[in-house]
């Protein structure tokens, strides 16, 4: 092909390609894709990772069971032996809450506490909507 033919070829293909337009995928392309991505993101979010590794948890469990068996074999179930006898089993809780006996609340305090409770639950759907729209609180 000579120079002239090269130019003709370029001009011809320029014209031919000018006849084509961009193709569009199916109308629900973005929706389908976003559904896939959201499923994938949820999977990533809800992967549970234990705070302590499995080996350490197993070791702690075995150590606890071994310690328990050791204590059981050494002292038995008799609570009058060893350090069990130091525990005061008949502990009286009535002294701790005795100050409540004479307590009275005004109506205003009561309504304030109730309103606080209602508003606390109102913010849950509001926060949910905000997170759905923005993805983050930041």
């Amino acid at each position: 092909m000579d120079e002239q033919q090269n130019k003709e070829l370029e001009a011809f293909i320029d014209k031919v390609m000018g006849e084509t337009s961009l193709e569009s995928p199916s109308p629900d392309f973005t929706e389908k894709l976003m559904a896939k991505i959201e499923t994938q993101s949820q999977k990533q979010v809800f992967v549970a990772h234990p705070l302590l590794p499995k080996k350490l948890l197993t070791f702690l469990f075995l150590a606890f069971v071994a310690g328990f068996i050791y204590l059981l074999m050494t002292y038995g179930l008799d609570s009058s032996q060893g350090w069990f006898k130091n525990i005061q089993w008949n502990y009286d809780f009535s002294k701790t809450w005795s100050w409540m006996e004479g307590y009275t609340a005004s109506k205003a305090t009561l309504y304030a506490v109730l309103l606080f409770g209602v508003l606390f639950f109102v913010q849950i759907p509001w926060l949910k909507r905000y997170l759905d729209q923005h993805g983050t609180l930041g």
Binding site: L9, M17, L22, T30, L33, Q133
Partner: protein, 191 residues
């Protein structure tokens, strides 16, 4: 490199706002789909590969440094995803241009002019689908990406000089395929 709007969009997606990603998808889906369709020649496969492309874009957005245009980066992922898909196929398209005769462009032009615009567009689409994938991809990127060889150099990671040679060959192959399709019309015109 990145516009302020693109930078904000990327930040929003990185923060976990998946809905902001749909904006990015809507901006580039047509060109990504056209590129995959031209390279693969099959609508269903092209749609599937386009979806894979955007999933890859979403997953690797965290590592995108912003040193190229976002479109360049998205098209590079689309092009490479197509090549991966083609590698899985058993047969590949080859078209030898070595033995091709000279073309008579005026006659091809006349034959094309006699067609309705939609018909011409459809024919060119069919002919592009018959080209080897790399050629179809290169022609699509060149003619829909403002004919910027520098941009395509970044997408395909091929030097501009090599691209010029590849583009010339791709044009020649497309002309040959078109000539084959237009032969009956050309003969009819010549009486």
């Amino acid at each position: 490199m990145l516009t302020t709007k693109e930078r904000k969009l990327i930040q929003s997606i990185r923060k976990g706002n998946t809905r902001a990603f749909s904006e990015l998808v809507n901006t580039y889906k047509d060109l990504v789909y056209t590129l995959t369709l031209r390279m693969l020649g099959n609508r269903e496969e092209a749609e599937e590969v386009s979806q894979d492309t955007f999933i890859k874009v979403f997953n690797s957005l965290e590592h995108f440094k912003g040193d190229s245009k976002i479109s360049t980066w998205v098209y590079r992922i689309a092009y490479n995803t197509c090549l991966d898909r083609i590698r899985l196929r058993k047969s590949r398209k080859f078209l030898d241009v070595g033995e091709m005769q000279d073309f008579i462009f005026t006659e091809m032009d006349t034959a094309l002019d006699k067609m309705v615009r939609e018909e011409r567009g459809r024919l060119v689409g069919q002919c592009l689908a018959k080209l080897p994938s790399e050629d179809a991809g290169l022609l699509t990127l060149f003619y829909f990406e403002e004919k910027s060889l520098l941009e395509i150099e970044n997408i395909l990671n091929v030097p501009v000089n090599s691209l010029k040679v590849q583009l010339f060959r791709a044009r020649k192959k497309l002309a040959a395929v078109l000539e084959g399709h237009l032969k009956p019309e050309i003969l009819q015109n010549n009486g």
